[in-house]
Amino acid sequence: MQALRRVFALNQNASWTRTVLATQQKSCLLSSSSILDIGIGLSAEKRQIQELALTFTQNEVAPHMQKWDAEHIFPVEMFTKTAALGFGAIYCKEEHGGSGLSRLDASLIFEAIATGCVTSSAYLSIHNMCAWMIDSTGTEEQRAKWLPQLAPMSRLASYCLTEPGSGSDAAALKTTAKSDGNYYVLNGSKAFISGAGATDLYLVMCRTGADGPKGISCVMVEKDTPGLSFGKIERKLGWNAQPTREVVFENCRVPKSNRLGPEGSGFGLAMRGLNGGRVNIASCSLGAAHASLLAAREYMTVRKQFGKQLAEFQALQFQLAEMAAQLVSSRLLVRQAAQSLDSGDPGAPAVCALAKLHATEQCFDVCNRALQLFGGYGYLLDFPVQQYLRDSRVNCILEGTNQVMRMLVARDIIGRLGDA
């Protein structure tokens, strides 16, 4: 509705760049292609949820995408609006304010929002992952305390696993949590934490026991706890609409009642969280590729060279066709992974890894090709494809590098080496 008002009040900009951008903003997501139908294969009910997320994105997210990136703004107000629609705890139970929906619904929502800002959708998915970890593993007290704050996003959460010395080798983490009466005393640091400094609750994987995964527990640390501090805000290639910082613990005392699940269960919980996280981040890549492909298609009907529209050159048509194959195959695989999580399929983690591997790589390539199709204009910051490209690049790295995804997929195919 607000978009309609903008249409009626649209100013007349003379510059050609602005004309292309203005048309793109309005109509580039309204493809009449069946291949590129973002609701492909979905029921009317799922389409309705997707429609809500897309409309919200067009009105409240997409118009600000460029500004948030340029000025490094973490759009907390926008997140509050998403939470009002029920996007803050999508797959948490309704009891304490969750929306009680499925991983597939979540995937549709993150994909839709990512068409308007990959970074914001990614943070929203991280927040959802943390809320779910509390919802699925927390005690009644922990759930009753935290979910009513996390679901409306009046408090925001961050997930802390990676350390300067342990990324892919996550189980080698060194942050210790030494027992002291009813408290743990945390010492160590976490790296590359999304939202750090701007969020209120940190889910920290730390060592309460011996080396290896079985010595790790998950402890919730609140923002102003003494001994909790943050490093400088990292300067990044993308994801500028979100602060990324080191999180430092120096004799940080945390009540034992903040531990999620029993001691030694933290690594398993972290990995279970990541299964969904991988579907979610792959969904963000889908949104970036979708928007980039449609933007390129639109541009190709406007730009003319050698007396013809770019869209009339077969070589470029073939580019679009290949990009469509990359996007749609990724989309179907990601949704399948979401459904396997929803149905409790024991093979779900491997499907999630495969979906993350395939979608993040293919969708990054789609964005890259789209940028090429824009020619020189693709390189200008005024045009959105470069932002989709920069923002989706890190999806191949975080939530488990695509190299780790290859390990997981291979293990599923041939079994663990040494197993009978």
């Binding site: 509705m1 978009a3 309204l30 009449s32 009317a44 429609e51 809500l52 029920g86 929906l101």
Partner: protein, 271 residues
């Protein structure tokens, strides 16, 4: 001077007004509409459709009146193809209580005119007996701006079109409607039952929320046919052709007011 306190309870009676809201499924406002090669109409297949924006405003107003306890029940109605059910689901997700779908067979869809729609709505009003019908002032596909007015005439009900505000009247026995007219704003009191059509500034529609979308699945959606309602859909008009508007030609810039007047005289636009 005395201060008159509006007693909302008068207007509400014990149950509140019953509102019927019309929704039309139209091509989404942001789509680049293309004329069919045979010039018989515009391309609709595979094209994104959504609820007519003025109808969204009408739905929002009905829901707000419920929230203010001025209305007790809000019913949405759509006359259109099977896909109009999606439009009705959106209305239900915004807070409407139940929906009615008058399904029009595809063959008759393209020839459907406001006169037919208003007759169908009038028939439904006979059985539903609403106190207030709110329609969008016009649909953004045909821009007819006729259905509300025709419906009021068929029912012999008062009409308040282009509403930018709806509230109880001073004595709470009528509705006070502010209308956007060429000369500015006109405020009138209408007795109920009445037909009101919504204009752009009446309100800003809400988004549905996920919980409301889920709740809407359980709300009743009844189907009816034009035959059941006894309305003849024989077209009164024949569309001869649909064409693109002429391509916009380049203009010219002038340096001064004298030049402008000179140019206007040249073109015979000014004596």
């Amino acid at each position: 001077k005395y201060i008159h306190i509006i007693n909302k309870a008068d207007m509400a009676a014990s149950k509140g007004l019953k509102i019927l809201v019309g929704c039309k499924r139209v091509i989404d406002y942001a789509v680049k509409v293309r004329v069919k090669p045979d010039r018989s109409g515009v391309v609709t297949e595979g094209v994104k459709h959504s609820m007519n924006p003025f109808d969204e405003i009408a739905v929002e107003e009905a829901v707000r009146m419920k929230e203010k306890k001025l209305a007790g029940e809000a019913v949405a109605i759509s006359v259109g193809p099977p896909q109009s059910q999606e439009t009705l689901r959106t209305a239900l997700a915004m807070g409407i209580d139940r929906a009615i779908h008058v399904e029009i067979p595809l063959a008759q869809l393209e020839k459907l005119q406001p006169i037919h729609v208003s007759k169908l709505l009038a028939k439904v009003c006979e059985s539903e007996k609403p106190d207030l019908v709110i329609l969008g002032k016009q649909a953004i596909d045909d821009d007819c701006n006729q259905t509300g007015q025709m419906l009021a005439a068929l029912l012999d009900w008062p009409q308040a079109t282009f509403a930018s505000k709806i509230e109880p009247s001073q004595d709470s026995k009528q509705l006070r409607v502010t209308r956007e007219v060429d000369g500015g704003l006109e405020t009138i009191d209408v007795s109920v039952p009445a037909v009101v059509t919504s204009d752009l500034r009446l309100n800003e529609p809400r988004y549905a929320t996920l919980p409301n979308i889920m709740k809407a699945k359980k709300k009743p959606l009844a189907k009816m046919s034009p035959d059941q309602l006894g309305v003849d859909l024989q077209p009164r008009q024949e569309v001869i052709s649909v064409e693109d508007p002429p391509v916009r030609k380049a203009g010219a810039k002038v340096e001064s007011v004298e030049d402008l007047v000179g140019k206007l005289r040249e073109k015979g636009l000014v004596k």
